[in-house]
């Protein structure tokens, strides 16, 4: 077990380093940070001096080595755009993105799993077909269109929910949370829904497919033959056994959710990491972009690790050694 975690951690470090390298190699091509940092009246000479000061004229390898070296020492550098410490900028934005991602994930699970079970148990019903078709249309509309539609429907026409931002937030030891105010929740609904639609459909279809497979397995047939009550049969026996593949995909997707929140955050002016990243691209804010990518990679490997541990928690075959 310890060895397993160690192995995963080693792999994670490798993945993060590789992402950092790739990310860094792209910066040279995104644009010229200096022309974004200076005003129109700044002389070419002053621009060149700034470029030299920032080390942008150094060879690529040297720049990368400096970036990684500083990173390993916990020095994340300063933003070109705002001159703020990058670590602080990212850290203050993490709660917003994580809360959005997790709520989107929870919506997708709490809606996706029951509907998945339902549609698996009644594969031919009218309701099932309606659900399947609706969600299919849902994932076929580009996220940004959905987001704007929701804003204008619920924000402007009906006036029920806020159109942008996080609403009221509460500081909890450095973690700015919108989960503890009504206002915060109201602000969270639309972006989380927008972000969760794809995830929801995926979860639902996955649960449905797995459930239909499991319902044909011998142990479900045996449990049926023993007269185990239906509710228990569906949830304790069948659903539990669908969880391992569902967790894998949901876990894998969660990394994608965090990354894809870029679009949602930009539409809802949601002050998370994705929005920061988009602004950083616009200003060629290399330090922020670099750290953002490493943080995203970190979340990705972290989620993967959690998924692996969840397997162990769910499946006794991985937890307890086979004696036979």
């Amino acid at each position: 077990m310890v060895y397993f975690i160690f192995k995963r951690l080693a792999q994670s470090v490798f993945v993060m380093l590789a992402v950092a390298f790739l990310a860094f190699s792209l910066f040279r091509f995104v644009g010229d940070p200096v022309s974004q940092m200076t005003g129109v009246e700044t002389s070419v000479e002053d621009q060149e001096r700034l470029r030299e000061d920032l080390g942008l004229n150094d060879p690529f390898v040297l720049q990368f080595a400096r970036f990684t070296g500083n990173l390993l020492q916990g020095d994340f550098g300063f933003s070109y755009r705002t001159r703020q410490p990058v670590a602080e900028m990212i850290v203050t934005r993490i709660p917003a993105t994580l809360e959005l991602g997790i709520v989107a994930l929870l919506i997708s699970l709490f809606v996706g799993i029951p509907t998945g079970v339902y549609t698996a148990l009644r594969p031919r019903g009218f309701v099932t077909q309606t659900i399947l078709m609706t969600t299919l249309i849902g994932v076929s509309i580009p996220t940004f269109v959905i987001g704007i539609m929701l804003i204008f429907l619920f924000g402007v026409q009906l006036g029920w929910l806020p159109t942008f931002g996080r609403g009221g937030t509460v500081q909890l030891g450095g973690w700015e949370s919108s989960l503890f105010t009504v206002d915060g929740w109201r602000a969270l609904i639309l972006p989380a829904l927008t972000l969760g639609v794809y995830q929801l459909t995926l979860t639902m279809r996955l649960v449905r497919a797995e459930m239909m497979e499991v319902m044909r397995s011998d142990y479900i047939r045996f449990a049926t033959a023993r007269g185990v009550p239906m509710g228990r049969l569906y949830f304790r026996h069948a659903l539990a056994n669908t969880l391992v593949p569902v967790i894998t995909i949901v876990g894998l997707q969660f990394g994608g959710v965090i990354a894809f929140s870029i679009v949602t955050e930009s539409v809802f002016q949601w002050p998370g990491m994705g929005l920061l990243f988009l602004e950083s691209i616009r200003f060629v804010d290399i330090p922020v972009m670099g750290v953002y990518l490493v943080v995203i990679a970190f979340f990705f490997v972290l989620v993967n690790l959690i998924v692996d541990l969840l397997y162990v928690a769910i499946d006794p075959r991985l937890r307890i050694k086979d004696v036979s």
Partner: protein, 526 residues
């Protein structure tokens, strides 16, 4: 004030929004597309920063509602006697927001700070030879040559408190790491910073000890950047914000059609133009002309100018909200050449003739570069222009991209023709002559945005004379000559003046200044 006059919804939820919005009677919530990058007035020379900080900091002079220069921290100024330069008599009894007194030492300190290599605004002080503190409330700016426009050019030069900056280790603007002044302020202006969450929310409150009479009735002002224009509009229409700058012009009708909202329209000082690769030996992006640069021929440039139908661009893309431009500044800018106020008409036949005369009866293809996130409808204008060019045989290979790699491309001469917008920082014709028309000269720091390398000896000769001429009539004559010359040579094709479109709730009274600066001191919420 009433909760909302624009919507009579009975829904509880919407009522809740209104309550939260109008919790404090004189709170203004406003949004714009970009967050000011820093609170340091000398670190970055960009419009969002200068616009925002003009509410907090003040310069020696300031611009009024009509853009005219008026006294601010300097109560008066006059030319120095016996040498070139200006003397500023500072206002007495002005206090910084932390309560300390404003003196000439602060101006001196701010000058040193702003002209330091670490400051992005140092180009403003290129003409300055020396600065001398005469007494606590008098300071002299000695210039290298006569400079009648110097006071106008430093309207955005904002004064910091010396003691505060030094005590907080912010004696120089932050270049690569932040310092205290990045997130904190101590100005003399009408508003002071209450809290700042970069990229999310910035809260301002009136400065109680402001020297001038407050023309506003605000108790609080909350700024939120909203990058997505549709979201911004939604925020306004749902009542979550009171004012937004700018809104997309195609949405003007939508805002106007709703009760309780108004649209403020004006002309910005920014002129949009096409530039040419004058000095290029050959076209970079041509499939049929590889050994010559047709744009070196003024007839070809004029043909291009005649091909553009600004009226159609105005009608379809701008819904009648732009002013065609004849020169690189709009009409209300000082130095505008009334004598040369006509622009080449839309005349495709004439364009074809000119092309034939120049030896290109069938036209030719070339590369047209445009930004897609810099100016209003920049990409659409270029597409429309490319279509119009095509009609006379000029086949434009359009290439658009974000501004972050647009400037580098222009600097590397990677274009045949390009789109550029220019707003004169000094609100004087001299500004575009200096940056866009004078030959490129890195040593003298002239012509630094003259990417195409337009060069005319007479223009180069006239620029210093214009800069130094005190007599307005003589000066205007020289400017007229420059404009005439560049028009006849078609150095650029000025297209139109960019419109300025803001939207607000009906109950907000505010002033729209042509430089797109939003001044809280003129806002009243009824």
């Amino acid at each position: 004030m009433t909760c909302n006059t624009f919507r009579n919804s009975t829904l509880l939820a919407s009522a809740a929004i209104c309550l939260s919005v109008s919790a404090s009677a004189e709170t203004l919530r406003w949004a714009s597309t970009t967050d000011p990058q820093t609170m340091d007035p000398h670190a970055v020379n960009s419009a969002p920063v200068l616009s925002f900080l003009n509410n907090i900091y003040e310069g020696l002079v300031r611009r009024g509602q009509d853009m005219s220069i008026e006294p601010s921290l300097a109560a008066s100024w006059e030319p120095l006697e016996g040498e070139d330069g200006w003397r500023f008599n500072l206002r007495q009894g002005v206090k910084f927001q932390d309560g300390s007194d404003f003196t000439a030492e602060d101006v001196m300190f701010s000058y040193q700070r702003a002209s330091n290599e670490a400051a992005d605004v140092r180009s403003w002080f290129a003409p300055v030879a020396d600065v001398r503190v005469v007494d606590d409330h008098t300071i002299d700016f000695v210039t290298k040559a006569p400079n009648p426009l110097f006071p106008d050019s430093i309207a955005n030069f904002m004064i910091l408190d010396k003691g505060w900056a030094e005590a907080n280790d912010a004696a120089l603007p932050a270049r690569d790491a932040e310092n205290y002044a990045t997130m904190n302020v101590n100005g003399t202006g009408a508003f002071t910073l209450v809290s700042r969450d970069p990229g999310v929310k910035t809260v301002l409150a009136p400065h109680a000890g402001w020297w001038d009479e407050a023309g506003h009735n605000l108790t609080e002002a909350v700024f939120t950047p909203i990058g997505n224009s549709a979201t911004g509009l939604a925020a306004l229409l749902s009542g979550e914000i009171d004012f937004i700058q700018p809104i997309p012009l195609q949405d003007v009708a939508q805002v106007e059609s709703r009760d309780g909202f108004k649209v403020l329209e004006g002309e910005e000082t920014r002129v949009i133009m096409f530039g040419f690769g004058h000095e290029h030996e050959k076209l970079l992006y041509s499939s049929d002309v590889s050994d010559a640069n047709p744009f070196a021929d003024p007839r070809v440039r004029l043909a291009a100018a005649h091909a553009i139908d600004v009226a159609s661009i105005d009608r379809v893309l701008f819904r009648g909200k732009i002013e065609p431009a004849s020169q690189l500044v709009p009409a209300d800018i000082s130095g505008y050449s009334e004598a040369n106020s006509s622009r080449p008409d839309y005349n495709p036949d004439r364009a074809k003739e000119l092309l034939a005369e120049a030896g290109y009866p069938d036209g030719f293809s070339f590369g047209l570069k445009c930004p897609n996130d810099r100016y209003i409808n920049d990409e659409a204008v270029c597409r429309a222009a490319a279509s119009m060019f095509a009609a006379v045989g000029l086949k434009a290979e359009l290439s658009t991209g974000p501004v972050r790699d647009y400037w580098p491309q222009l600097r590397e001469d990677d274009f045949d023709m390009y789109l550029l917008g220019w707003s004169p920082g000094t609100f004087d014709m001299e500004h575009p002559i200096r940056f866009l028309m004078h030959s490129q000269d890195n040593d003298k720091k002239l012509g630094s945005w003259n990417f195409g390398g337009y060069s005319n000896a007479r223009v180069d000769e006239l620029l210093p004379m214009i800069q130094q001429e005190i007599d307005p009539a003589k000066r205007q004559m020289m400017i007229d000559e420059v404009v005439k010359t560049t028009q006849s040579e078609v150095a650029y094709i000025p297209l139109y003046t960019q419109p300025l479109i803001w939207a607000a709730k009906d109950n907000v009274d505010l002033t729209q200044r042509a430089d797109n600066f939003f001044m809280l001191r003129w806002v009243t919420v009824n």
